[in-house]
Structure formats: structure tokens, C-alpha cells
């Protein structure tokens, strides 16, 4: 079996926890997010004819990108960068976090996710137009499940290619 650690990163309320909630195996309570600042979930996927088990570290969202505990990101093969399509400042926060990871840990493969596609009519168009191509991001909706499987397939593929 092949294993990889991946992280979910983004501002509070962008839907990181909801994204994983439906599609992963969970045993730990969400309280861990507020107490420890991280919760570990698991998902096994078939990627490029291999079974890959993703250990998904869901990091508690912080308003201040400086407060994201990078300690939890160390050892990750890739990460998912989540922003809320309706709130432009969540894109900026996510971009700051991405730059901090680049600077302090080194460039890691990531997949951008613009979440809440069920509310696409309320999306902030300038932010979406700027970051969607810049990150090569996917549109997801934790509420309807749209794009979520694809997101995990993509992060699994990136993580697999990043492994030695």
C-alpha cells in the first residue's frame, strides 16, 4: 500500500471540513479542529492503477495567514488550497498562505478549490477570474458534492507524482 500526507488549507468558513466530510473515512470529532488545530481523515483512491491512501490533515482556518501552523504542513506531499467563491478576501488569504508555504517549506504541489459552486451566481467575479487560472483551480461544492471527487482524484494524482 502507498500512503501520502496531504493538507487542506484556507481561511475560516471556506468549507474545508465540509469538503472532506462526505467523502472520507472519519473517526475523529470536529472538536479536534478547535482544540488541537488539526484533524486527520483518510481516503483510499485508485490512481494510475495504484491504490493510494491519502491521510488528509484538515487544518483549522485562521484569519491571519501568519497563524497557520506550518508544523502540520511539514511532510505533506501536496495540499489543497480552498477559497470561498463568494468572499474575495478568502482568495487573498489563501494566496498568502501558499506563498508562506513556498517560502518556509519549499514549493509543494497543490490543487486550488473554489468552493460553494452551488452559489455560483453570488461569486465575486474579479477574484474568481484572477485566481481560477492562476491556481489552475477546480470548482467545488461541498453542499451538492459537485467536483469533490474530482478534487480528491487530482490531489491524489499530484501527491503520487510528488512521492519519491
Amino acid at each position: 500500500m502507498t500512503y501520502a500526507k496531504v493538507c487542506l488549507i484556507g481561511a475560516p468558513g471556506v468549507g474545508k471540513t465540509s469538503l472532506v466530510k462526505r467523502f472520507v473515512d472519519q473517526i475523529f470529532d470536529e472538536r479536534y479542529l478547535t482544540t488541537v488545530g488539526v484533524k486527520v481523515d483518510k481516503k483510499t483512491l485508485r490512481v494510475e492503477a495504484r491504490d493510494l491512501t491519502l491521510m488528509i490533515w484538515d487544518l483549522a482556518g485562521e484569519d491571519d495567514s501568519e497563524s497557520i501552523p506550518l508544523k502540520y504542513v511539514r511532510g505533506a506531499a501536496a495540499y489543497i488550497l480552498v477559497a470561498d467563491g463568494c468572499r474575495p478576501q478568502t482568495f487573498e488569504k489563501a494566496e498568502q498562505m501558499r506563498q508562506r508555504i513556498d517560502h518556509e517549506i519549499g514549493p509543494l504541489p497543490f490543487v486550488g478549490a473554489v468552493n460553494k459552486s452551488d452559489l455560483a451566481e453570488s461569486w465575486d467575479q474579479p477574484a474568481v477570474r484572477r485566481y481560477l487560472p492562476q491556481w489552475g483551480a477546480l470548482c467545488t461544492s461541498a453542499k451538492t458534492g459537485a467536483g469533490v471527487e474530482k478534487l480528491f482524484q487530482e490531489i491524489a494524482r499530484r501527491a503520487l507524482s510528488a512521492l519519491p
Binding site: 500512503y3 501520502a4 500526507k5 473517526i27 486527520v40 491512501t53 491521510m55 511532510g75 451538492t144 512521492l163
Partner: protein, 526 residues
Amino acid sequence: MSVVSPLRQPMPPDENMSGSTVGPTSEADFETLRNLLLGEEWVDLNVLRKRLRDPELHAHDLSLVLAKAIVRASQRDTKLRSALLPVVEDAIRISVQRDPKVLANLIYPAIGGALLKSVASLLEEKLEALNMVVEQSFTLRGLQWRVEAWRTGKTVGEIAMLRSLLFRVEHVLLIDPRTGLLLARRSAPGAKIQDPDMMSGMLTAIRDFVADSFGEPQNQDLQTVQVGEFRLWIEHGPLAMLVGVVRGPAPVELRKVFRQALQEIHAQFGTALAEYRGGDVSSFVAAESTLERCLMGTAPATATPPKYRLWLALAGLGLAFLFGYWGFREGQHRRSMEIAQQLNQEPGIVVTQMERRDGKLQISGFRDPLASDPSAILRARGLPENSFQLSLREFESGEPSLIARRQRAAHREWLANLSILFEENSTAISPLAVTQLEEVAKRLKTIFKDRPPAQPVIVYGSANGTGATNRSLAEARAVAIVNLLADLGVPRQWFQVSFRLSEPSGDNPTQRRLARRVYFKLEEEP
């Protein structure tokens, strides 16, 4: 001389001739003359000058003699050592300030063994003292310990320590501290664990959290976690972490066993551990035999045998009593075992301990919330309600039948929360809805794979408003969904079409949108 002097003291160009015509010719002449006078030595001189001025070449030349020069200088006197001392001290200080782990990792193999030896000698002293006490005691148990010590080659003290503490190492995990990934593990027979992969990740996260919260003082890693009757003993090495899940009061000596195992693993898999960044863990399978040795101890006994003095055991009356008592206990024990067997055969129930206390049969263990009711099973077995007490903790069983049931429950929940939305006055199925329905079809087929639904799945169509038009629209939406699901291979007879109408929801676009939907209602699984 008449040629040299004008070159050594060149005239200013304006006063005599133009510099551009005289300069190069004179320089060339001088070069020719220099070659004539100095020949090869001039070439050598140029090479040497270049070597001295080029830092790269100079460093290269110096590197060839540096080692020899240091040896000579240290043989001659102590000046070099004195000169280097503050530099080396400073370098070490900077290294420790920057990352204390680097130096700690370097000296770990040397210092780990020495520490172990000193701990072992301390423990030996304690065991020696215990030996004396045990050897002087004359009980049945003391005799059993002596026989076991003789049989296993251990000291009586060691056996006494191991036997008087009822503990068991249930699981041993080898974890990569960087990624939190589980590299290898071993479990005692019958011991259950929810999900060791997730446990490894979370434990690593908590370790990081604790280190952060307490400012990470040197070598103050998380070492013990107490969870109910379980204790997690954590040994940290520079490249891997060993976690023992221990039940009952384990002797401190067990730490030594864990530490030794971790050192062995470091020695055997040092390179693989250092290079691991995630991925395939099969190269650590061989570490399992080392982990296996950590699975020590015995499960807490069902009852503690009473102590008898040997002289009493030798007396005929005593013997008769003893055999009688044993017979009685054996009968009780056999009956308990039969019941335990019965419960253990049930998917999702694991009995770990059974004892008769306060006139009741106390049964402890684990039960999956989806497993059958254990009280009902025991009553069916003929045990009255008040003759037993169950204390079963919840756990997630790995039994295939329960895994399947759990999956079905998750699918049902997913379906119950799903809404398929429609445009205004439309029964057309959007591309997003098609994707959703493909998932619906997949999940329905999984739920009803073994037997079709006893009650049909109700497909409710809804529309924003009341009246005959809205009713037809709502029904048409539900029918469209059923048609598509039938095309996707779900039998049409599994469904029943219905509708729900609501009062118009005004101008709120979200509410209006949600009112134009189709959703499902499934009966609970029996």
C-alpha cells in the same frame, strides 16, 4: 639602454607623438625583450601569479596541502588547537541554536546504548533485591515463579515483576514523525484498534501540538498518553517513533524493551527511514518481527487464584478442598467461556474480559453500534436479566457484513440529504443533475444489491407554488428523474412518484431555487 629608458618613462602623448601609434609597438618590443631575457621563467612566473590571484585555483592548491599542514601544525605545538577551539565551540553553539535535533541525532547512536546500560544496571539492582524477597517466600505462586524462572532462564525477580503486574501490550506502531504515516504495526491476538492509520496521524499532530504549546523544551517529547485503561507509551528516535498501546499497569522495564526495538529498527532501516517522504511502506515489513517482540504481557486473568501455603496444600484435607474448589471454578469458567464464545461469534462484538463479581457475570469488551443486541443473545442463552452486567465500549468493527451495513447507512444518509434542482417552469435535467443521478444510481444499486426495497423509494417532485399546473410540473419533474434512473439501470419498480407543493416563496432567490427540486425518501434498513 636607449631602447628601455623611453619605455620605462613614457613621454606624455601630446608632447611627443600620438600614444596610439607608439604605445603598442613599444609594449610589443618590451614583451619580446622580456621573453628573450627571461624565457620559460617568465611563463612560469605568469602561471604562478595567476594561481595566487585566482581564488578558485588558490583554494584548490591549498586544499591539497591543508590536511597535511593541520597534522604538522598540531604535532608541532598546540597553537592551532587553541586557535580553532573558539571557532568550533561557536559553530556547535550556532548549530544547537538553529536546530538542536541535528546534533542530538548525530550522537543518539553513541549515547543511546550507554544510557540503556546505566538504566539496565539500575534495574538489575532492583531485581536482585526482589529476588531475595521472592526466594525467601514460600507460597504456591512463589514456587510457580521459580519453576518458570528455571524453565525460561530468567531471574525469579523478573518473572515476579512480569507476573504480578497484569498488563498486555495490545498494539505496537512504528510511525514516521515527519509525515505522521504508519510504517508498520503488530497487534496482539484478538486486540482491536479502530483505524491505526488515522491514529498515527492524529497522535503525531497531538505530539506537535504539545511540543508547540510547551515551547518544545529539549528532549521533552510527549511520552505517555493515558486513555481510560489504556496507556500509550511513546518512544522517540531521530527517524521514527514507536508507540505501544498497553493495557493494565505495565512494568517500567517495558520501556527498555521498546527502546531497544526502536534502536534495532534505526540500525536496520536507518537509510530507508531517513529517505522516507511518504509512499510505499512495504520496505518496512521486515520491522514487524522486531515489533512483535514488544507484544509482551498477558491479558488480565479472569480471576485471581487464592493463595495457599504449601504446608496446607500438602495436607490431605486441604488437597481435597483445593480440588473441590478448582472443580467449581472450572465449571464456572467453562460456562463463562461458552457464553463468551457465543458473543464473540456475533459480528461486531468482542469480549475481552469476563469475571464473576458481586454474584454477577461481568462482561467487558467492545460492540459496534450496528451489531446485534448482546443482552438479547444472553437472555436467549437462558441467562436471567439480573445475572450479568455488560460493559461494552463502542467501536467500529472490521467485519465485512458490518462494513457493508455501515456503507449502506452512509449511502442512505447521502440520498436523504440530496436535492436535484430544476430551472423555473422546467422539467429539463441539468448536466450537474445528470452527474448527481449517476451517483444516485450507483448508491441505490449498492443499498439494494442483495434484496430489493421492501417499501418503494419515494421520489418527491416539488414546485414553487400550489395549483394544478404546479402539481403537474412537480410530478413531471419526479417522473423525469425516475426515467433517467431507469435508463441508468435502476429498476423502475423500486420507485414511487409523489409530489410536495409549497406556498410561493416570494422574492428570495435561494428559497425559490430550493422549492424547485426532487428529493428521495427511503425506509430505514430493518
